[in-house]
Symmetry: none
Subunit: 218 residues, 4 copies
DNA sequence: TATGAATGAGCTTTCATTCAT
DNA sequence: TATGAATGAAAGCTCATTCAT
């Protein structure tokens, strides 16, 4: 498992054997196949043979690109967190003109992402569970969490400064809460996929953040 | 696997081969051993041989009580959700004199539970992940979710009626949000166990639910 | 396995633990259950647990009456060969007034038995196959073979003496051939159950034994 | 298991994983090892581990070539029936100048084959017994039976036309009888291997088929 | 760069048998 | 006489990994 001392995972996956264009494509195809199979069957049901078969290559070829199963999983981890980072991707938060609008868009976009990319969230949940026991995964995911938090904290701070949000808002606590809330909603969506409609939450969340009900706008 | 047609799992654990008091104890010992091993290594690393060894019995004895690994997992599921239901258990919601007090105690007690019983929450997270692909687990956990939600909704409704909470509070949305928030905090606690101190969240949550900041007394 | 030095199997099965009426009934029920299961699934699929279950007793009870699986099989062997010996049973050859009539009835009755008691013949085939490697079974079945041969040789000798059969008939060879023929027809009946109608064989066999075609009777 | 809809088994043995010459040899070595072990211990005593060990390969290698034990058994079945089909093999019917000579050679060659290749006949008996419960095996063996019958019927028809055999001979019935007789003699040979000397049968069979005793020349 | 073949170690499950009660 | 509980020893099968080509 290629893993640096600080717990950060080498984002480019295995450094060896990635010199030609074709090789890179093979690696991507394998990572995608692994991603899909984790989404379908979880880590519990992930078999390197199935990954190779889905990518259309021999099992030995998989091990040529990813010396061990762990290396393959690291590549999936990197691919999964990258999808959150890529601006403009369906999972990234949408642009908005003002802080409150950005916050309004936040949960809305998260809920849409959960519905449109259930595979990504399934894989992230699998990774979160594995993070319980894998320091490498934990470190990588922690960074993603922090980025989200900082992102939201930026909105929140701007909203407070612009007078759109409560002046006594604990920005850090609110940012953490919002990330937690969106994660928790995913877990609940697994159990009751039809029951959860996001709009009502947004009303309540705005009430909380602004200190006044939405309808009582000036 | 004893499972009714509506997908609900027989809450009383497997009925198979539990004729004597001794047999019941063995079954419990095996369930506990499986629980511990899931907490330690996840479903991915759960081996029936290890469960038997930890319970101090032969592997064939395990299969005498639990015909298949799945049956054992069902028993663990039942045992895990039961811990939330048993009143007075460290994981059950604490009693409180008034609605606001109960709500104040909610996240506080959840956070404490997460810190004091990390195993239970680890197992629940494993089960949640498995619920992605297992309708039986999904159904059982959905019921637990619903109980929590109804519980909280009761507090919230009482709080609104007593004038302790905002009159325009969307009780259902708030109940769902609180459950989601507590679940999401667990996921974040996995990544950053030391950073999350609950008290700040409680201040914000009360602000949200009451419509006024705690410190700003009239 | 209770087995005498000369290879003969103790016909009464295990001598121990058979003192009361009830005990004998249990033993018979278990033997019958084993017989039925061998007919259904063969020795390859015979499980003592299934035998006990079908007889409605605990597996430990089976071992009380039959200390080992081999002992149970010996009991089934004894029961199977007994059915051929019991006069008047559907598997025993029918009485007839004269030698030729007796011979005429022979294959006819064998064919009927194969159709009416497929289980018995299935078990006998299983036993024949096991006889390849089990001297005890071989010895017991050899005795049954010899009885049939002697039986038929008696008919044949009487037929020759009465002038009904060819005077130069090799009685021993004919007796052996008839037994072989009936066994071989069973094997063929397994493959093509509908194709084999016995009457045409009888015509040919009489031609052979009498030296003249049936239709050319004086 | 490669098996067509009509129940016939793919005669060319398992198609799975036989890409190189070496692979083909391994497959044959495994099939031979399985054949030998079935002859020695029967299906009841057939263990994949033992087959692999006898072929000198790892158990996983066996499963590389034969995904399941059933597939291996299918290969043994195909190999066994092939030995009767290969002209010139010790088990194939011998060539002869005239119909009567061919018939004379038939049982003689069968008896010799039974004595020289007891393993082959043991395996065929095991397969016949399994055919009781396995439609695939039944279908394959039925075809072998039919080939023998047609073979013999050809001889018989030619013999009748050449005036060597009785003109009123029921050719079909006689062909079936001869196959049955040879099968039955094998079963008897299991019980009494020394007693059965074939020549006497042949005298009787010629008497039957020709309508005159061999010694009684016109 | 890619693969067919091979394997050590291990997995869940089975089974005949035993024994205390 | 009968049984619930327990087990040693497999059995069929799987899986990540290796290696010669």
């Amino acid at each position: 498992m290629t893993q640096a001392v600080d717990g950060r995972v080498d984002q480019g996956t295995a450094e060896h054997a990635r010199h030609t264009k074709h090789g890179e494509e093979q690696q991507e195809a394998l990572t995608r196949a692994a991603f899909d199979l984790i989404a379908e069957r979880g880590f519990e049901g992930l078999r390197t043979r199935d990954v190779a078969a889905r990518a259309g290559v021999n099992i030995a070829t998989l091990h040529y690109y990813f010396p061990s199963k762990e290396d393959l999983i690291q590549a999936v981890l990197a691919a999964a967190v990258a999808r959150f980072r890529r601006p403009g991707s369906p999972e990234a938060p949408p642009p908005a003109p003002d802080p409150l609008g950005q916050l309004r868009g936040f949960l809305r976009s998260r809920e849409r992402a959960m519905r449109e990319s259930p595979d990504l969230f399934a894989v992230l949940l699998e990774l979160s569970t594995r993070a319980l026991r894998d320091e490498g995964i934990r470190a990588t995911m922690r960074r993603t969490d922090e980025e989200w938090r900082e992102h939201l904290a930026g909105y929140l701070r701007a909203g407070v400064e612009a007078g759109q949000l409560r002046p006594d808002l604990d920005v850090q606590a609110a940012a953490i809460s919002l990330v937690a809330l969106s994660k928790g909603l995913h877990l609940q969506m697994i159990m009751t996929p039809d029951e959860l409609v996001g709009e009502r939450f947004n009303v309540e969340i705005e009430q909380w953040l602004t200190g006044r009900s939405e309808t009582t706008a000036p």
